[in-house]
Subunit: 215 residues, 2 copies
């Protein structure tokens, strides 16, 4: 048992799924959940669930399972979901607007508190409760609103510049939708959500079976 040892990256990526799976269990009610059930809910296998949970020093009871409420608490603790991390959306185009409008983020502790856009017609407006500022005000916004996470939904050409501005403002966590490789200091965590690449991976597999069929 390693109460607070290093948690493997692969495990971290699955913890949110377990947490979501636990929502199937009513709060306040004492209920137990087995690694098998959780595995089903999260779409992985039971051995992985147990090994993952063992990394957070969680203890279920053998022969019974895990206490759902306590497990939820433990995972929440590990992920730090009690924290609220304000988000700034850079680039209020088609995608940016959809993101800013998404209540699911706020519900999970990631409120979109501001946005930037280079379009003069948009600057100064308020979209779905989110005020749109000029890109130059980014540093100011970040400090004033305690922004922790920057989302990049600008056109690809503006992505690196926006990333630099975010980093300069002290933001260390970035989620980017731009189809570009971003460079930033090591301590900055960048997660790139590359939808075209996702589609191309799907396309690769479609292509494979097409070839297989033709042979």
């Amino acid at each position: 048992m390693a109460p607070l040892g290093r948690i493997p990256e692969a495990t971290v990526a699955r913890l949110p799924l377990y947490l979501r799976g636990l929502d199937a269990f009513p709060v306040g009610v004492t209920a137990t959940v087995s690694s098998d059930e959780l595995a089903d809910l999260a779409g992985v296998n039971a051995a992985k669930v147990r090994k993952d949970l063992s990394h957070l020093g969680t203890y279920g009871t053998r022969g019974v399972g895990y206490d759902s409420a306590f497990l939820r608490f433990q995972i929440s603790q590990a992920l730090g979901v009690a924290n609220v991390w304000p988000v700034v959306v850079c680039g209020m185009g088609n995608l940016g607007r959809a993101l800013a409008n998404h209540i699911g983020f706020t519900d999970c502790g990631f409120p979109v508190v501001a946005a930037t856009d280079s379009d003069l017609d948009k600057i100064g407006t308020v979209v779905d409760g989110v005020p749109v500022h000029a890109p130059g005000e980014l540093g100011d916004i970040v400090h004033r609103l305690n922004v922790a996470i920057g989302v990049i939904s600008t056109p690809p050409e503006a992505a690196q510049g926006t990333a630099d501005a975010l980093v300069a403002a002290g933001v260390t966590s970035i989620m980017s939708f731009a189809p570009t490789v971003l460079s930033a200091p090591d301590e900055v965590e960048i997660r790139s959500v590359d939808l075209v690449t996702e589609l191309q991976i799907l396309g690769f597999h479609l292509h494979r079976v097409r070839i297989a069929e033709d042979s």
Copy 2:
């Protein structure tokens, strides 16, 4: 050299990045690119580039590098980017609209040819050139327009049902944005783009450094 052996999944995921990196080289011009340069362009290291390319039986010339045009051809071939895979977007809400409107998909061979929505006000309309149909017509649409890929951008409650309908219609590739675990037959490839989970992973790391600072 394995001209057409199995390509590792991790490699497949990087091929689109290399292809994109090659765009920095003008077409039609004979130019060579080294694994080092490509590594920079794709944001990985040179050894990985070489090993990846070796999987497609590509041959660069030692001492020189890879012919950029030929390399582009080889990767395109492997990924099958010459194919056009029509896409249907299920759920024309905030996100679905952004996706349907995104020209980048069409440019890469993934045209959004139709959409579905359960909202009676939307059915029958055409949004950004994309006709919106009733969910019940999904099977028909898929056959008529040769749809290869289904995108799920419905509310989470409707996601599994939509996935089932896509599978029933013969679609074997799905990209889902719904925060739910989807089940489908093994031969169906599902890529789940889970933005809340992405944010929670960022949140985890923010949480870690906060704890580290407080100690």
